[in-house]
Symmetry: C2
Subunit: 446 residues, 2 copies
């Protein structure tokens, strides 16, 4: 299986590709590499120097504008004035940890919890989705007494040591830890029998039996309901029901990683798991939560947090500070006041329809899928055989960049464009992307 | 040994202590507990509702002002206008990940690396000190091939699963993981032979031998050079030299956790390890780095990062975003322009001198120690026997709060006041704290 290492390479800058003469950005790239070394991950063969952004648009140092169809963090739009104002006002008034009472923090917590099912009544605020998932794994282990986790084969859940263990896409070519089992993602394009849930539940059942044979007790399963890095699998809605039932039957917990689908992106509701009609045990969140202000969180049933607190202390210095809370409140306000969930649903459906229309002209488009403004566009070299075509995905990514559109790829084979623009994306923006994709595919003769 | 669980209780709010009638803040406390449940950690028996802060002062909802001698995050002063301006300007212009080039980010990286020894030439930016330490542990393991870590007995290095393993103070009453060994902190007050370094090095040597006997190879040692949660041990400067030599002799790396001592607090230099004349392999940072904006970082030798990158991919979504970089640059500018390192040195020395003078009148003061504006004030019930007196520390913490001063405790016995105000603290502020401590000790007849 093609892993994240190669996927990233599809539209990543490779320092080895720079020749001696150097491109336009060679000095800036050298500068970046001098400080950040091998941890540097720049997009594109010739990286872009960004200087400003607004709404769905970004602008580089040469004044060129790019339509942003990639960035899912500035979810209510780059530099949204209401979020900017909220941060600017609060950072000048009070920015401190949660060991004092503060109305902004408690108001935010109540607003956030009110958006979740009533059973999920407690919250811990962190600074990143990784921290939230790291904590969720510990809670699941403390509450169940188990250690084993089930994930999908190309899952990504974050960057701490413990979360990297449950992120196969971050460990290219390395065996999984013994307490982690990976099951195939619910690929409804290739295994098109319509029973994505049944197949996933059976794979989970098998993984639990394998755990048992090795003396490992199940702690739970962690999954994001849109299967982002696996390649974007959304339908049929509710396919997670038999999966969560299987996990529960074996005493495990289900952690809904809402870092990517959450906050309205999937269009039907604020939370991705709602499409599936399930009640997770733990819900984690991050990326769009503060529209770029570093914040994350874990919401869960009170008794699970109590089980964890009985054995471990947890405190997060920056987590839930009043500036994060103010940013988070502004994000929730904008989502409500600008109708962004409904916009994601309507524009997402319109966008997929447009992509399906150009699929009639381009054999390379194997599938168009997704929910709301999280869309997967899968390229194949043979429609009947459904042969993954990462080289076409790469060509489209770089071609769209030339036409001023930012986009990226995902999936086990790196052949799926992941389309996840800011949620204020309009039909006109969708038309632009559809037309330019059509143009680039014609240029590529695909 | 008294652990963090009980230490926190010294000045923490205990929900069980509220009677049926409820205090002034009962509704606000109930509200906090409803959302945050057992993860809530409020200070004081009757918690404070904070609404604003400026410089070294905080203000509660009733308009009462408090002199802040506790908070080490808003290190250049609460809501410093230059930091507020930098954040407000950048958050309205561009706030995105590091996969595009951006001048602010690269400028910040260069400024930060220039403040470190030349050998430490690469940087990874994270959102918290916990994330930085989590990554540092992984780097040390990848670079050495070992797994074992040595820490001090009451150390705290952060809140992820992996970092909690090396934070004995977060695991009250639970055995350490097999790959972690805890050595006694360099308590130069109780073992006053002046050879803190020799004793610590010998304990480290012993721990490495114990690892070896169990087939565990050394990865390294992680310590903060001021031993904050152990009880603040600073002298004699350079006592870490034999310790780092021992670690190196056994192939391990030394991780300097600068989350608490860094950015000028210890007064002699920007970094705490500089007092010891040592060159760490990895330097981690957090808390004061953005004066409250969530950011952290790991600086290290290029080849260590390369060893890690060869086997694992790391990317941090919010880490090193332009807003964090702008905040971090403003913090470095203020430290330089306001002479805060020198201020920490001079006011810290003056502060300790004042505390030593009142120690002549109060038998309960066993020791005054520290470096710069990180001061430990140790209370004992018997000066000759040096019997720890956490009840006096608790009385002073709560008494000072009544007099409008915020302060907290640390140490294995919870009997050491940790004094770590914003670095813009003046002699007049130090005088206030000395006089009020004198008053409170008289009120306590201590």
């Amino acid at each position: 299986m093609r892993q994240e290492k190669e996927i990233l390479a599809l539209n990543a800058f490779d320092p080895r590709s720079l020749d001696g003469s150097g491109g336009a950005h060679r000095p800036a790239v050298d500068r970046r590499l001098r400080s950040f070394g091998t941890s540097s991950v720049l997009f594109y063969r010739d990286p872009i120097e960004m200087v400003r952004a607004e709404g769905v648009w970004m602008q580089d140092a040469q004044g060129r504008r790019y339509l942003d169809v990639y960035n899912n963090v500035p979810s209510v739009g780059h530099c949204h004035p209401r979020v900017v104002d909220a941060i600017s006002r609060q950072v000048g008034q009070l920015n401190v940890h949660t060991r004092y009472l503060n109305d902004v923090v408690d108001t935010y917590a109540e607003r956030l919890l009110a958006s979740l099912p009533a059973e999920i009544d407690n919250l811990v605020l962190t600074c990143t989705g990784s921290e939230a998932n790291d904590l969720a794994l510990r809670v699941a282990q403390a509450a169940t007494g188990g250690t084993g986790f089930i994930v999908t084969e190309t899952a990504y859940h974050g960057n701490t040591a413990a979360v990297t263990d449950v992120s196969p896409s971050s460990r290219p070519g390395r065996p999984l830890a013994s307490h982690v089992a990976a099951v195939p993602a619910p690929d409804i394009y290739r295994a098109a029998d319509g029973d994505a849930g049944g197949r996933l539940a059976a794979a989970v059942e098998h993984a639990i039996a394998d755990f048992a044979s090795r003396g490992i007790r199940l702690a739970g399963m962690i999954a994001d309901s849109i299967f982002s890095s696996d390649g974007v699998y959304a339908d049929p809605a509710s396919f997670l029901k038999p999966v969560i039932a299987t996990i529960r039957a074996h005493g495990g917990l289900f952690i809904a990683d809402e870092v990517q689908p959450g906050f309205g992106r999937t269009g039907d509701a604020l939370w991705g798991f709602e499409r599936h009609g399930i009640l997770p045990d733990i819900v984690t969140m991050g990326k769009p939560m503060g529209n770029g202000f570093p914040m994350g969180g874990m919401a869960l049933r009170r008794e699970l947090l109590e089980a964890f607190s009985a054995q471990d202390k947890y405190f997060n210095t920056f987590g839930g500070n009043p500036v994060a809370a103010a940013a988070g409140l502004a994000v929730l306000d904008v989502i409500r006041d600008e109708g962004l969930v409904e916009n994601a649903r309507a524009v997402g459906a319109y966008f997929r329809q447009g992509l399906r229309e150009i699929a009639n002209r381009h054999e390379a488009i194997g599938d168009v899928r997704g929910a709301g403004l999280f869309i997967g566009l899968e390229f194949v070299s043979d429609r009947a055989a459904k042969t993954p075509a990462p080289e076409i995905a790469s060509g489209v990514i770089n071609g769209l960049r030339e036409h001023g559109v930012l986009i990226g790829a995902a999936g086990a084979y790196g052949n799926v464009l992941k389309i996840r623009p800011p949620l204020c994306f309009s039909r006109e923006h969708a038309d632009m992307v559809v037309e330019l994709t059509d143009t680039v595919l014609r240029e590529l003769h695909a």
